[in-house]
Symmetry: C2
């Protein structure tokens, strides 16, 4: 079955089970080799790249829908997803399916709910679905090299801005870093999210003041320099900071 026929078959089934006009798009950020990545699918129809999004069943809660979608399309089952934005402009998605007539489920107007999650890529093996040729982590600075469909680049940018705001009021790193990490790795994560370099002394002082780190009696061996100390997150204090926020006032 070619990819166009496959979409036609899905369309009839979709009309039965999904709400019209509404979709959900998860933006999953990962951190590896000092760079931020985002999870993308390459659809076999037209070979363009998209977020691993989908539709909402008539009989399911919206929050359950996005969890199901991420599992079905990428094999990820344990990401903590938060709504961050709604994309509701006219004609934002219809054009992608221009080869089809107006009766196609996928070609109607969709308002899409954006969800954000931070995820450590090494925690899972990605599993692509039958509609996709690839399911991959793409570094943010490589997004320009792939052909992204609809307004999904705009959705990723809004997610990154949200993350940048969040970093001032919530601790970040628990779902992105390995269990043991150096302060310099944590600083790098903050720098890629904020999009700017930070002064090392200030960063170390501020991050330690949050009380979310535990220094381990272990060092990272093998570098050219003095072996740096390893840290881990203090789970209890991290959870508290997440709940109460890092309030300035």
């Amino acid at each position: 079955m070619d990819s166009k026929q496959q979409i036609l078959t899905k369309s009839n089934e979709a009309k039965e089970i999904f709400l019209p006009n509404l979709s959900a798009d998860p933006v999953i950020f990962g951190f590896e080799n000092n760079g931020l990545k985002v999870l993308m699918l390459q659809m076999n129809y037209r070979q363009k790249w998209l977020l691993p999004g989908g539709y909402v069943r008539k009989d399911e809660n919206l929050d359950d829908a996005v969890v199901r979608i991420l599992k079905d399309r990428a094999g990820i089952t344990d990401a903590y997803l938060e709504e961050f934005g709604v994309f509701g402009k006219l004609k934002r998605s219809e054009f992608y399916f221009e080869d089809f007539d107006e009766t196609l489920f996928h070609k109607q107007r969709f308002i899409s709910i954006g969800y954000l999650a931070l995820y450590n890529p090494s925690n899972t093996t990605l599993v692509k679905d039958e509609l996709s040729d690839a399911c991959e982590w793409i570094y943010l600075d490589k997004l320009d090299e792939i052909d992204i469909a609809m307004d999904h680049r705009e959705i990723i940018e809004k997610a990154l801005l949200t993350l940048r705001e969040k970093i001032s009021i919530k601790p970040i790193g628990y779902n992105l870093l390995p269990e043991k990490f150096t302060l310099s790795e944590l600083q790098k994560l903050y720098e890629v999210i904020l999009g700017k370099e930070l002064n090392r002394g200030n960063f170390y002082r501020k991050i330690k003041n949050l009380g979310i780190l535990k220094k381990l009696d272990e060092q990272r061996r093998g570098g050219a320099h003095k072996s740096p100390d390893l840290y881990t997150f203090d789970e209890e204090n991290y959870a508290k900071a997440l709940e109460n926020g890092l309030n300035n006032w």
Copy 2:
């Protein structure tokens, strides 16, 4: 025409012009007499209180829909609305219309997009629509005394939590306070949003450090104490802080 008949008539028209399953609910906060208020409508059908929400036209952008809805239902034309949350649980709104059969437009499942705005109540005269008996500012600490329908109390609470997070990363007050205000009035605004008392010395020092205030050569007269200085916002610096955020890092 009684209120039930009025809804039946609206239902047929609604099916023609609005997207199914999708609504928008604006949460408009005002600040007066040192207290936060929220804009609520009392529907003539069943006399319950609701946010001034509505539906999205098939031919309009989502952002335009919420502006139109707020104008039509409350007469407010100049609020700056920001999306803050999506409310998509099954059975969140259907029960309100239990007197009607399943063909009613209003009784289908709705996923609602919450929008937040800060607004100075003295800037406008509220104008209620034909579906409502009242359109009023209700103080947050009086919400327990009115009968709020659906999950609209939960929507208001989420909006307040969002505002509480925002206050750490964005300046707040420009749309809520009169042009000239005292530092103690501004402190009170921060206190009601944060839900806690702040140390006066710390607050004055931090708020002045943001560089968003201009001290006027004028005092507030008439109190029992020493006449306090009046301030106004420095519009340019305020706009800059709004755009760049009050980043901690």
